[in-house]
């Protein structure tokens, strides 16, 4: 029987350490962003992606050398899940949208003559320069809009102090997620944007639960010292935070292990995001309130809490 209820952990005592830890991680992320950059997939940098399945194992380096003779610029060949599944990426060709289309045919012809096994073309994606430019733009806008919408929502439902704290925690999560993609050089593509937006939603969800309790305790214990009050609120909600994180992680881990190659990057981002989001709502969002001078006099007849 698991029961984490009634804990009295002094989370705020370690706030200096966790703030420093977060600051280091953020610096690392930003540093990696400028040093390594993101490893954009074809969604964002254009190009051609072909996934093939062969009946026999293929020696990758030979195939890579063969494809490099086609003079299509950078050609990457990698194993995708098994040694009979290969992913071939060809960089975007110069000369606009129309020429990208020729790449598929050239590569398919070359594979046909080079490989003596049966080839099953499982997936072909060609993204031209126009679309990739638009996708990266709309992806970035989506993340900004989402963070801004959260800011407004929390402001509306709580007070600006909460809104600021929550959004700082959110930005923290987004930066760390982008940072982990810069450091690991995992492919950053369209589904990763979806994952980041979901992380924004999830992390907010976690933070809101803690904040909700902070607000409630602020009304209940009007004279309690703010540090104690924040600690109490985190402890009150700790069990829920952990249980929900565990169930979400269980589902995501299952997806990561069994869900197939195509969705692996997406799932990885989500898992990372849930971990970081949970951490940030306990160690970033809540402790930040101590510095934001939260209002103590709540209007107890606010519409939402009329049930109380």
């Amino acid at each position: 029987m698991l029961n984490i209820s009634g804990t009295q952990i002094n989370f705020l005592k370690v706030r200096v350490i966790t703030f420093i830890l977060s600051a280091i991680l953020i610096c690392l992320s930003i540093g990696a962003f400028f040093v390594n950059g993101l490893n954009f997939g074809i969604d964002f940098k254009g190009g051609t992606l072909i996934e093939i399945e062969t009946s026999q194992e293929i020696e990758i380096s030979g195939l890579r050398d063969n494809l490099n003779t086609l003079e299509l610029g950078d050609v990457q060949v990698q194993e995708f899940g098994s040694s009979k599944n290969l992913l071939i990426r060809v960089e975007q060709q110069l000369g606009g949208d129309q020429v990208q289309q020729d790449v598929v045919q050239i590569v398919k012809d070359s594979l046909g003559s080079y490989l003596s096994t049966d080839i099953n073309f499982r997936r072909t994606e060609v993204v031209g320069p126009k679309v990739s430019g638009e996708l990266i733009q709309s992806g970035a806008i989506a993340i900004f809009v989402a963070v801004f919408a959260m800011l407004v929502y929390i402001w509306f439902r709580f007070e600006w102090q909460f809104s600021l704290g929550a959004v700082l925690a959110l930005v923290h999560d987004v930066i760390l997620t982008i940072g982990v993609f810069c450091i690991t050089q995992l492919e950053f593509n369209l589904p990763i944007i979806a994952a980041i937006l979901t992380i924004v939603g999830y992390s907010m969800n976690d933070t809101v639960v803690v904040y909700d309790r902070v607000r409630e305790n602020l009304r209940k214990y009007r004279s309690k010292e703010i540090t104690d009050l924040l600690n109490l609120s985190i402890n009150d909600t700790l069990s829920r935070t952990i249980v929900t994180s565990v169930t979400t992680l269980l589902a995501l881990l299952s997806l990561f292990i069994f869900g197939g190659e195509v969705i692996k990057g997406f799932t990885f981002a989500m898992i990372w995001g849930v971990v970081v989001g949970t951490y940030s709502s306990i160690f970033v969002a809540a402790p930040l309130l101590r510095y934001l001078d939260v209002k103590r006099e709540w209007n107890t007849t606010s519409a939402v809490d009329s049930t109380r």
Partner: protein, 536 residues
């Protein structure tokens, strides 16, 4: 709060049963469904192209080409008017969107003449009541002529609408299964082709504008087909379709065009057994064709497709019946495709493929299988964990979770939303997050009990207190899902849909179904039911 009136119980259960009812078809094959009585819904979840296999193409109409053509027409019109009025012009410049020239004695009469000619040449594009489609500005002797923005916009819009229609006709001719062809934005066309993972043929069909013309070969000059000299005025050099090295000098004047065709069919020449395309003209086309062939017996007549000469047979006798045939060394598939192109008509401007995403049926099937397996494992893990933490209440939450999953499936089927691979991920994520509402409630109940409430009150208050938190927490995720829905397209959009549906069904089941289950046992509730020790 724990008391459920009969009416309430009834409505909660009806909502659940109705949504579950719509999930039913997904567990049977299409054949089985057809044998079921009519009152059972037959709509299964609509699978995205990434799951069922298929091809997605994003095309753009080359709008610059349309404007260029318009400016070229205007160019010809203006020169004609100037010539007619014996005006000498100089510095005639044609830029992307305007004409500029220097002329003396430019007066309002001429200006009017140009406007009227241009108007009459673009009747089909202008909106009713438009006075002019030109902006003519004069600075001393320099005249600049532009199209109005409205006219350009209208021209492009017309061309896109026309392209859409022709793309539809071409794809329909191929007999593709349930293609979806939609306009996107001002100049784009999205094509979804389920079941096609190698759209080469479609791409090549769409890659041609298929502008067919019949033009006379210019026989006035001696001509080496492999090394042509300059074409005389009024003629142009065109390459052969079969061999780009081989060239023809062809008179620019179009004698008959593809717009006068009423039918084109592939076939075989009865003598040579060579694949051919036979065609038939409408009345105007037949008259023109008859007259040209009558007047030019013995001369070669070029059949030109997209500025390439397919063949240039010598006219043996006048052809008055309005039908003929094209042979140009095609194989039978090429003949078939050409017939399709001619029947469907020419595109007003070239189409550019901006994006292609094709998934083979194997990968789609593998993805579904992997997704299902991951869902089952994740599901079992969450169920066990919930029972481990919350005991009896955990079990109730698990039952709600099962109901929840079927409801997501039911809602997806009912609204015919598209399920994609990221969509499956969204459902699996929902499995993990759907229990959250119940977790929040159960934690509250535990707290109430610890604070000395009896079990009944604890449950009552638990629900009451958790409500606003649950709403706040879920609205934030919902906001993210909505933003994703509007910003994304294709598979990622499918994720936002399942995520949003999952949020609604999980909040709904937590507040109605789980609570209903608890209320049924209200009298027998004990603290250990929610995972607390008996003496807590």
């Amino acid at each position: 709060m724990l008391y459920f009136s009969n009416l309430k119980t009834f409505s909660v259960l009806s909502v659940i049963i109705i949504t579950l009812f719509f999930a039913v078809p997904n567990f049977f094959s299409k054949e089985q469904l057809n044998s079921f009585p009519n009152f059972i819904p037959k709509q299964q979840v609509n699978l995205g192209l990434d799951l069922q296999g298929g091809s997605h193409l994003l095309l753009e109409v080359d709008t610059e080409e349309i404007i260029k053509e318009r400016v070229e027409n205007l160019n010809a019109d203006v020169r004609r008017v100037l010539k007619k009025n014996n005006l000498n012009y100089s510095n005639f410049k044609v830029s992307n969107e305007s004409l500029k020239f220097v002329v003396e004695d430019f007066n309002s009469e001429i200006q009017k003449e140009i406007s009227e000619l241009s108007m009459s040449n673009s009747q089909n594009i202008l909106a009713m009541g438009d006075q002019t489609n030109l902006i003519i500005t004069q600075e001393e002797n320099t005249i600049q002529i532009n199209f109005t923005e409205e006219f350009i916009k209208q021209s492009v819009s017309n061309a896109v609408a026309q392209s859409l229609e022709i793309v539809r006709r071409r794809i329909d001719e191929l007999g593709t299964r349930e293609p979806s062809i939609q306009r996107q934005g001002s100049s784009r066309i999205i094509i979804q082709l389920p079941g096609i993972d190698d759209p080469d043929r479609i791409k090549s069909l769409l890659g041609q504008t298929a502008k067919l013309t019949f033009q006379l070969v210019d026989t006035s000059v001696n001509f080496d087909p492999f090394n042509p000299s300059k074409a005389p005025i009024g003629s142009e050099i065109l390459v052969s379709d079969a061999d780009e090295e081989f060239k023809y000098i062809v008179k620019k004047r179009i004698m008959v065009g593809g717009e006068n065709l009423v039918d084109a069919q592939p076939g075989f020449d009865p003598q040579t057994n060579e694949p051919i395309v036979s065609f038939r003209f409408d009345r105007i086309g037949a008259t023109k064709f008859g007259r040209v062939t009558q007047q030019n017996v013995g001369k070669p007549f070029a059949i030109v497709l997209d500025n390439k000469v397919i063949s240039a047979p010598v006219i043996r006798e006048s052809i008055l019946g309005g039908s003929g045939q094209i042979s140009g060394g095609f194989d039978s598939e090429e003949a078939n495709d050409l017939a399709i192109l001619l029947r469907a008509g020419a595109l007003p401007a070239p189409l550019i493929i901006l994006e292609e995403r094709s998934v083979g049926p194997d990968l789609g099937a593998d993805s579904i299988e992997a997704g299902q397996f991951a869902a089952i494992i994740g599901f079992i893990a969450v169920i066990i964990f919930m029972i481990f933490v919350y005991r009896y209440f955990g079990l109730l939450a698990d039952i709600a979770l099962i109901i929840n999953l079927f409801m997501v499936l039911g809602v997806l089927s009912l609204f015919q939303a598209t399920l994609t691979l990221p969509g499956i991920a969204g459902i699996i994520l929902t499995i993990g997050m759907a229990v959250d509402a119940n977790v929040l409630i159960f934690e509250r109940v535990r707290e109430e009990i610890r604070n000395g409430s009896n079990m009944m009150n604890a449950v009552e208050n638990g629900y009451k207190r958790a409500l606003s938190t649950i709403l706040d927490a879920n609205i934030t995720t919902l906001i993210a899902a909505i933003i994703l829905f509007f910003m994304a397209s294709g598979p990622v959009r499918g994720f936002s849909i399942t995520l949003a549906i999952g949020i609604f069904t999980s909040v709904f089941t937590a507040f109605t179904f789980t609570r209903l289950l608890i209320s049924l046992n209200a009298k027998r509730l004990k603290p250990n039911f929610v995972g607390l020790s008996k003496n807590a």
